[in-house]
Amino acid sequence: MKKAFWLAGAMALALAQPATAADSVKIGFVSTFSGPTAVIGNDMRNSFELALDHLGRKIDGKPVEVIYEDDQQKPDVGKQKTEKLVQSDKVDFIVGYIWSNVLLASLKTAVDSKTFLISANAGPSQLAGDLCSPYVFSTSWQNDQTPAAMGLYMNQKGVKSVFLIGPNYAAGKDMLAGVKSTFKGEVVGEEYTVWPSQLDFSAELTKARNSKAESIFVFYPGAAGVQFLNQYAQAGIKAQIPLYTAFTVDELSLPLQKDNAIGIPGAQEWVNDLPNAENKKFVEDYRKKYPGLRPTYYGAQAYDAAQLINSAVVAVKGDLTKKDAMKAEMEKANFKSLRGPFKYGNNHIPIQNFYLQDVVKDADGQLSLKTVATIVKDDQDKFHDKCSMK
């Protein structure tokens, strides 16, 4: 009798669990919070927290619980953390992922459990093509898109040949393939470096100079971008061969790159000075909330991810079991994105504009990024045909 009583109690507790869980929106956030690239993860977290502030810390009247997990920039750790969030925390959404290799390792866990995953940065080609899923959305881009825009700009500039350098992991390969897909000149060399441990690029820079290429293109996110520009300038190559980049100069690396970054063009889907009202408010409030820091595209994408989640939860009036309805709502991209309005393609990757950014001194005398031109309008990734969702 007594046993039965306890059993009943335990069952009641077990049953009560999901009921309490449904009273809040649970979000798992996987990003890098330790090591040299922790600054990127911090920027994403800052922006996500700011988005929650702007939403009044509530989504459709429910409190929001965010669990931040550190992937240490390692695919195996990212996968473990994703498993933890899905299986033991039972989150409703998973957001984040800076690194394509970490996202690819974690993807299956989220998709198999039918948990919505929103990539706020990584955009491996597989995710846009074969591995696309109804439960996965991106608030960033597909990796090839940004460098492809850079390739178009290089054509405009009449560049005849290029030497490509990038890190040897999923995103590095996509990035160099992206430039090659649009650049009309000759690719005279292509070098991959060990990622993320190789920080000395002397061998690659020497080869680039000896190749007599007219230009160099690199993709080095985070601290590696600082190191590359340092070495590019110190070797005197800056005066000889112009550099074109994707994701190498941003607001986190600029304070360290300083003058080395002046005159180095980059392509981006978001720049801090985009003129829409939401973006102005975001940049202003970010600087107010985090004095001394400036938001980056990583942060802007994380901010948009919070808005995307909000739109989905509001559309189903907080009933998080209505996954199909939430998916249908998210496909509309029915929120005010910081980059301006965009549409989703069939593979849940944004169809969006890409801008040319340049490094300038702003009103405070500090180096910052500025939009110079729109390189391409409403660009869709080239892998969407391979996605089985129509």
Binding site: S202, A203, Q227, A235, L256
Partner: protein, 305 residues
């Protein structure tokens, strides 16, 4: 041809930098029989000190010298406060304790300097490329690293081989208990050697800082290479560390420079591009494995008993 010369220089520069790190490590490991995983943290501290002092004094050379002194001092204090209590212990205890120190230093740096890292800009006279032979330009700063490291290696050689302190160091490497029994103040010697090792690591860190960035955990990856070098060179041997460091530097750089093109002759372009970086980063470990099989003592082992 010029390409080979330039890549050789790149390899030499990298190797000499590794030597500075490995020299301190091999001294401490060889003489005190002490496994110091926190050696990479001293490398990091050297870089942070330099970035701070250079910004403070406005002079690169003066800042670097101050940073060198500060790392020497830090090494001595560290030895006196924490590490000397671990000499008699098992290697595993030492690994555990010095691993703890890595965490301590990383978080101390995060508290003091913040998580974002620092930049150490070079003075203008070091940012120009120098023409070394007609048609070959080489960054002045990398050339300076080569020269400074060679000078330090020569000085180390003189100190170790030609002075009384050096004699004690060599004696300590051969037989620790014996020189203690002969009435040498072994504690003081250990403190000095550890301080010297710390200063060398700090020098490596501050010289590497303008090329890379000054950031938390910067000493951890490179420390693995330093361990590889002292294993190849023979534990406790400065000469071994020097030769092995130059080998490793050149093999690593040449592998990165020429392996991709060689592989492209046999493999398809995409496969070669993917395989080459992985393979070239394996080369030095392959070298270590071969040496371990053929000469487990290392190339130039310190004379034992």
């Amino acid at each position: 041809m010029y390409l080979v010369v330039e890549q050789l220089l790149n390899g030499l520069q990298f190797g000499l930098l590794l030597f500075l790190l490995a020299a301190g490590l091999t001294l401490v490991f060889g003489i005190m029989d002490f496994v110091n995983l926190a050696h990479g943290s001293l490398y990091m501290m050297g870089a942070y000190f330099a970035a701070t002092f250079v910004a403070w004094t406005g002079s690169f050379v003066l800042g670097a010298l101050l940073a060198l002194g500060a790392t020497l001092l830090l090494g001595i204090v560290l030895e006196y406060v924490a590490l000397r209590h671990l000499y008699g212990r098992d290697h595993l205890d030492q690994v555990l304790a010095t691993f703890g120190l890595i965490l301590f230093f990383n978080d101390a740096v995060r508290l003091i300097w913040g998580p974002a890292g620092l930049a150490l800009p070079l003075p203008a006279w070091l940012t120009v490329p120098v023409q070394i032979i007609p048609g070959v330009y080489y960054p002045a700063y990398r050339l300076m690293i080569i020269l400074v490291a060679l000078a330090v290696a020569a000085m180390l050689y003189l100190v170790v081989m030609r002075t009384r302190v050096g004699m004690l160091i060599r004696a300590g490497a051969s037989n620790r208990e014996m020189i203690g029994a002969l009435g040498i103040n072994i504690k003081l010697l250990f403190t000095l050697v550890f301080g010297l090792g710390a200063a060398l690591a700090g020098l490596a860190g501050l010289m590497q800082a303008p090329i890379l960035t000054v950031q938390i955990g910067m000493g951890e990856n490179i420390l693995i290479l330093a361990f590889v070098i002292i294993v190849i060179g023979g534990i406790g041997s400065i000469r071994g560390a020097f030769m092995a460091a130059v080998f490793v530097g050149i093999i690593d750089t040449m592998g990165r420079a020429f392996l991709p093109d060689l592989l492209r002759k046999v493999l398809s372009g995409a496969a070669a591009s993917t395989a080459a970086p992985a393979l070239s980063s394996m080369l030095i470990y392959l070298l270590m494995a071969i040496i371990l099989v053929l000469r487990p003592e290392g190339l130039f082992p310190a004379a034992k008993r």
